[in-house]
């Protein structure tokens, strides 16, 4: 019912091709995250699915039905926007009733649906308030509530947590994940935050310049990135890339090694270097080390007592080394 298929979808703004021909299949009930740097076309792609952007070419099917030329409201989707997009002159209740009123749902059923959604989202106490009287997190919940009451075949989220502070973002992330578990609906979620992508997604679609670089589960992308871009984008802190003689010695024009796959030692190791920055978080220590093979970031579990200027030795885990050819593709 909520499966979404994009076939040879293209988007051009005048001469500029923002989305080159693209194919993608999303299964019913799947939580898919579009991730990529700013301007990679992830929001445009989402808006094309929503019907807010016209397709230049190709077609989109939702639940087996071609919706390519249907109005946004006729596609059976609901969208949650980055700015919440709540109607400022309506109360929370009226905001949530609006889509039902547009769908000509009878007043009683509509009232019940709103009451149920408000209960699920802890909004029952705020139904008579205007959006201006709510906190950021509450507003985002209302936006989600407005989406839920429609019982859409799929939910579209366009960077919904970007306007929230860090602590609230973590909470809302959990709430959205729980909502997905409860409703079992298809969800497409756009973000530039790869931590959100890794924690929430069943599958991640990594985009760059409108092209799909890789589609896979979070762990697939982490463990088997198809190219340097995906390898660098997924994982925090970012993967270290080493080129030149040292890379050749290890068997490729470029090698990649994640900071957590390097063991730091004060005594001995493969690469020696001087600590330029050390960040002590208690649970982890992040070291930025200038070595003979270039700058290398290291993440060690727990406290590692070195400071700026100290000499350390680094030992990469041979089994965790990623190898890339001259074009940046994984070997």
């Amino acid at each position: 019912m909520g499966s979404i298929t994009l076939s040879k979808v293209v988007k051009r703004f005048g001469e500029a091709e923002v989305i080159p021909p693209l194919d993608l299949g999303i299964r019913d009930g799947e939580f898919v995250v579009f991730v990529g740097p700013s301007g990679c076309g992830k929001s445009t792609l989402l808006r094309m699915i929503a019907g807010l952007e016209d397709l230049t070419e190709g077609n989109i099917e939702i639940g087996g039905r071609d919706v390519s030329h249907l109005a946004p409201g006729d596609r059976g989707l609901a969208m949650v926007f980055q700015s919440y997009a709540l109607y400022p002159h309506m109360t929370v209740r009226e905001n949530m009733l609006f889509p039902l009123e547009m769908a000509k749902v009878d007043a009683r059923t509509a009232r019940d649906k709103v009451a149920r959604a408000a209960e699920v989202l802890n909004l029952s106490a705020y139904l008579e308030r205007k959006p201006g009287q709510l906190s950021g997190g509450q507003r985002q919940r209302v936006a989600i509530g407005r989406a839920i009451v429609r019982e859409p075949s799929a939910f579209l989220f366009d960077e919904p947590l970007s306007n929230l502070d860090a602590a609230l973002r973590v909470n809302m992330r959990l709430e959205i994940a729980e909502l997905h578990e409860t409703l079992g609906s298809t969800m497409i979620y756009v973000t530039h935050d790869q931590v959100e992508a890794m924690t929430m997604a069943d599958r991640i679609v990594v985009l760059q310049a409108g092209r799909i670089e890789q589609v896979g589960t979070p762990l697939e992308l982490y463990e088997q990135p198809r190219n340097e871009f995906v390898a660098g984008f997924i994982g925090s802190p970012r993967m270290n890339f080493i080129r030149g003689a040292e890379a050749e010695r290890l068997g490729a024009p470029t090698i990649g090694i994640r900071p957590e796959h390097i063991r730091a030692s004060r005594e001995s190791g493969l690469w020696g270097g001087r600590v330029s920055v050390s960040e002590h978080l208690g649970s982890d220590t992040y070291l930025h080390v200038d070595t003979d093979v270039g700058p290398v970031n290291v993440r060690t579990a727990g406290e590692f007592g070195v400071h700026r200027g100290d000499t350390v030795w680094l030992n990469p885990d041979e089994n965790a080394i990623h190898r890339f050819d001259a074009q940046g593709l994984a070997l």
């Binding site: 969208m79 109607y87 407005r146």
Partner: protein, 276 residues
């Protein structure tokens, strides 16, 4: 921390004094006209600060018997209708200009500005010639269309600005919720842009209400508006200053409640605030 220094107090007092002086200067003609309207014809040219031998309501009675009340009604009908017409056409137009992705917006804005800035005398002669052929001289329709040429560019221009302050996402949310563009405009965008709408309506009404030139050229007797009717009190033999004073008050009075009621919105709109 509150500044309580002497220098600050002097500055504040000076500020108030300047405001009061300006207020007095602005209100003086109004007070003068009120005093004038209550004087008998024989006392009109005595110094205004001296109380006349007797106050009178003769001027008001003579106005009531004249054609002026009918002209006032004409003003209401034509200014009101042209404002409604301008809002009816201009608001959707401004919405399209604000929210549609179009490459010729610059041209549209330029054209609108030209219409707003061009002096009415620029199009009143061709308008007159067309009206003579179309039989629109001295008709409500003729005057309403003429006023709409003033009010429509104004409404489009000001509502375009108001709508620009409404996030596109609000429109998109409405579309996603299953509303048509017309519904989105009516149910979401217009309520959110209410201050701008009220301001545009009131100011365009005043634009038409205060017009003298179009009415002078286009009307004859049936549809003469109040500002032109005031001139009827000026004849070759005499000028009925008392009646003119009453007519001026009659022209101003209806505007006062409108301005008072809409003041908040006009200030908000001119300040560029659309509150969420």
């Amino acid at each position: 921390m509150r500044d309580t220094s002497t220098a600050f107090r002097v500055k504040k007092a000076l500020g108030y004094a300047m405001m009061l002086a300006f207020l007095g200067f602005s209100l003086l003609p109004v007070v003068w006209v009120v005093l004038l309207s209550l004087r008998p014809a024989t006392a009109l040219f005595e110094p205004i600060w001296e109380s006349p031998a007797a106050w009178t309501l003769d001027n008001i009675r003579s106005i009531a018997r004249s054609d002026f009340p009918a002209a006032l009604l004409n003003s209401f009908i034509t200014a009101g209708s042209s404002t409604l017409l301008a809002l009816l056409v201009g608001v959707p137009g401004a919405f399209a200009l604000s929210k549609r992705r179009a490459s010729n917006k610059f041209f549209a804005s330029w054209l609108l500005l030209l219409l707003r800035m061009a002096p009415p005398v620029g199009f009143v002669i061709p308008l007159f010639l067309v009206y003579v052929r179309a039989g629109l001289i001295d008709t409500y329709a003729g005057l309403i269309f003429a006023y709409t040429s003033l009010t429509l560019p104004f409404v489009v221009w000001s509502m375009w600005t108001s709508f620009n302050q409404i996030p596109d996402e609000l429109v998109e949310a409405g579309l996603m919720d299953g509303a048509s563009l017309g519904r989105v405009l009516w149910r979401i965008v217009i309520p959110a842009a209410r201050p701008g709408l009220v301001a545009a309506g009131v100011l365009s009404f005043l634009l038409a209400w205060n017009d003298f030139f179009f009415s002078l050229i286009i009307t004859r007797s049936d549809t003469t508006t109040a500002p032109v009717a005031v001139m009827n009190f000026v004849s070759y033999a005499s000028v009925d200053w008392g009646a003119i004073a009453v007519a001026s008050i009659a022209l101003t009075l209806p505007i006062v409640p409108i301005i008072v009621l809409a003041n908040k919105y006009i200030v908000q709109s001119l300040g560029g605030a659309v509150k969420g």
